[in-house]
């Protein structure tokens, strides 16, 4: 009973809370980093160096009036944020933050579950996330959200293809769909897939930016054009849900990238013996570190790069990334067959 229900329940609670906390501080981090990039200070008022700023934001969002536009499709309007939030959180079920640890005399694996189609699970669940955006745009019965949602969904679908293709090539390397299996295969092969699949890595990173509607692919939220994107009409808690969902997605992408390309919880250069002293650091720290590096990259890119034009975005997706991904996949398959 404990094994079957209690421990997973605990894991889920921990992971969810950790995620939400991470998300909130992710926001603060972004604001700070961008501020520094623009030689500003960023939020400084709430708490020392504004460390309590997220708390204030959360309270504000919870307390705000929750407006539903007239002539809006009521319950779809309500359903949309949920539909975009749930997949973002559900994905965490298969992300391995680390291998077993010993707590209270129990061996506890640092992941909620490990299903043998984990990667497929990730892909499919994230693919469901697009509904939130589309429905939000549709149901708020206003032209800018509609345009934004159409843009967003087109963008998501386009870049999903490229990303999935890169994932396939990674699966070709590892020979399994299970996330944990992929990490262990990297351990056994003694190299991070980022080094033997650099093309896939780069494509995945770009695609991840697009998937999460981050700069320079943040057209669905292009304030200058769409007055804020598909959630223009939203406010209060439902807006907060969209907000959380976006950042949660960022964390998901970075965690998946870490798992697939940077060897998950493995220490750097797992096959190099004289670096074994790094093993004293527990694996989940490595994982968090790598994910953090990714998140920082996200913010950095946003602070640096200008926004794409829509046709440029589509051309990049369809005429550059997808062909490259296909070529990479074919190449990988050929090499693997040749080596086998």
């Amino acid at each position: 009973m404990v094994e079957l229900v209690l421990i997973p329940l605990l894991k889920i609670i921990v992971v969810l809370n950790a995620t939400l906390l991470g998300v909130t501080y992710m926001v603060l981090l972004e604001r700070k980093v961008i501020a520094w990039a623009q030689s500003r200070l960023g939020p400084m008022r709430v708490g020392p160096y504004g460390v309590l700023q997220p708390v204030a934001d959360a309270m504000k969002l919870m307390l705000k009036e929750d407006i539903t536009p007239a002539r809006a499709d009521k319950w779809v309007f309500t359903l949309a944020p949920i539909l975009s939030m749930v997949p973002a959180l559900v994905v965490y079920a298969v992300i391995p933050f680390g291998d077993e640890v010993h707590l209270f005399g129990r061996r506890i694996s640092l992941y909620i579950t490990d299903i043998n189609v984990g990667l497929l699970y990730v892909v499919s669940v994230t693919s469901v996330g697009v509904y939130g955006i589309i429905l939000a745009g549709y149901s708020s019965n206003s032209k800018w959200p509609l345009l934004a949602s159409l843009r967003a969904s087109a963008q998501l679908i386009s870049y999903e293809i490229a990303i999935t293709l890169t994932l396939v090539s990674v699966v070709l390397m590892s020979g399994t769909l299970s996330m944990v299996g992929i990490v262990t295969s990297q351990a056994s092969q003694g190299v991070w897939y980022a080094f033997i699949q650099p093309m896939a890595f780069v494509i995945f990173f770009i695609g991840g930016l697009a998937e999460t509607n981050r700069a320079p692919f943040d057209l669905p939220e292009a304030e200058q054009e769409l007055t804020g994107g598909f959630h223009t009409e939203y406010s209060g808690m439902r807006f907060a849900l969209f907000f959380l969902a976006e950042y949660a997605n960022m964390i998901v992408v970075s965690s998946v990238a870490t798992t697939l390309f940077l060897g998950g919880w493995l220490r750097p250069f797992p096959n190099v013996e004289f670096l074994s002293f790094l093993g004293i650091v527990p694996g989940w720290c490595w994982f968090l570190l790598k994910s953090f590096i990714f998140l920082y990259l996200f913010i950095w890119v946003r602070a640096t790069l200008p926004r794409y034009r829509y046709d440029q975005l589509m051309r990049l997706g369809w005429k550059v990334l997808i062909p490259l991904a296909i070529a990479n996949l074919i190449l990988t398959a050929i090499v693997k067959v040749a080596l086998a």
Binding site: D73, V76, L79, I115, N116, V117, L120, Y121, V123, S124, V125, S127, V128, V130, Y131, I134, L135, Y138, S139, L146, L150, S153, I157, E160, L177
Partner: protein, 170 residues
């Protein structure tokens, strides 16, 4: 026990959402219900131990096809509701009755054959189901290679055809 609970809950969701899909006035609503219905079906697959099919169900149906439907519904913003015009010579109620009758009959057959001790489904143990993704892939790429290729060709042709159809005549 838990299996039974899962089955009944999921079956109830599936049928309910299906009814909603069919009856919803607003096409967008029925699309949403369709998504939910497919998700439930996927869950049912999981309970049947077919994770791969479940994932594909979500990926292809929920993630792909239904998005397509959603787009079309948004593109086709009809001036007058489609239900306005009603053609004669289309006996919807008769069709409905027939459908019900077929359901009843088929159910009767099923239940009867269940009650009557027919030959128990002999478990033709051709491929053991364990971590079935590999086996499914194996089957797809060995004994069902030709149908697989045909299906891929079909998809390609369908893609081209859809593009040609939907392109605006300039």
């Amino acid at each position: 026990m838990a299996e039974a609970i899962a089955f009944y809950v999921l079956a109830a969701c599936i049928l309910g959402f299906a009814v909603l899909v069919v009856t919803a006035k607003n096409p967008v609503h029925s699309v949403v219900f369709l998504v939910l219905d497919f998700l439930c079906v996927a869950a049912l697959y999981v309970t049947l131990g077919a994770e791969f099919v479940a994932a594909i169900q979500v990926l292809v149906y929920a993630g792909g096809i239904v998005v397509l439907y959603l787009f079309v519904v948004m593109l086709v913003n009809v001036k007058r509701p489609p239900e306005a015009f009603r053609a004669g010579g289309r006996h919807a109620t008769l069709g409905l009755a027939l459908a019900g009758a077929v359901l009843v009959e088929a159910a009767a057959i099923a239940v009867w054959s269940r009650l009557s001790p027919a030959a128990p489904a002999s478990a033709a143990q051709t491929v053991p189901v364990s971590g079935n993704t590999e086996q499914v892939g194996w089957l797809l790429y060995t004994s069902y290679l030709v149908p697989f290729e045909v299906a891929s060709m079909l998809l390609l042709v369908a893609m081209v055809g859809a593009i040609v159809l939907a392109r605006k005549e300039s």
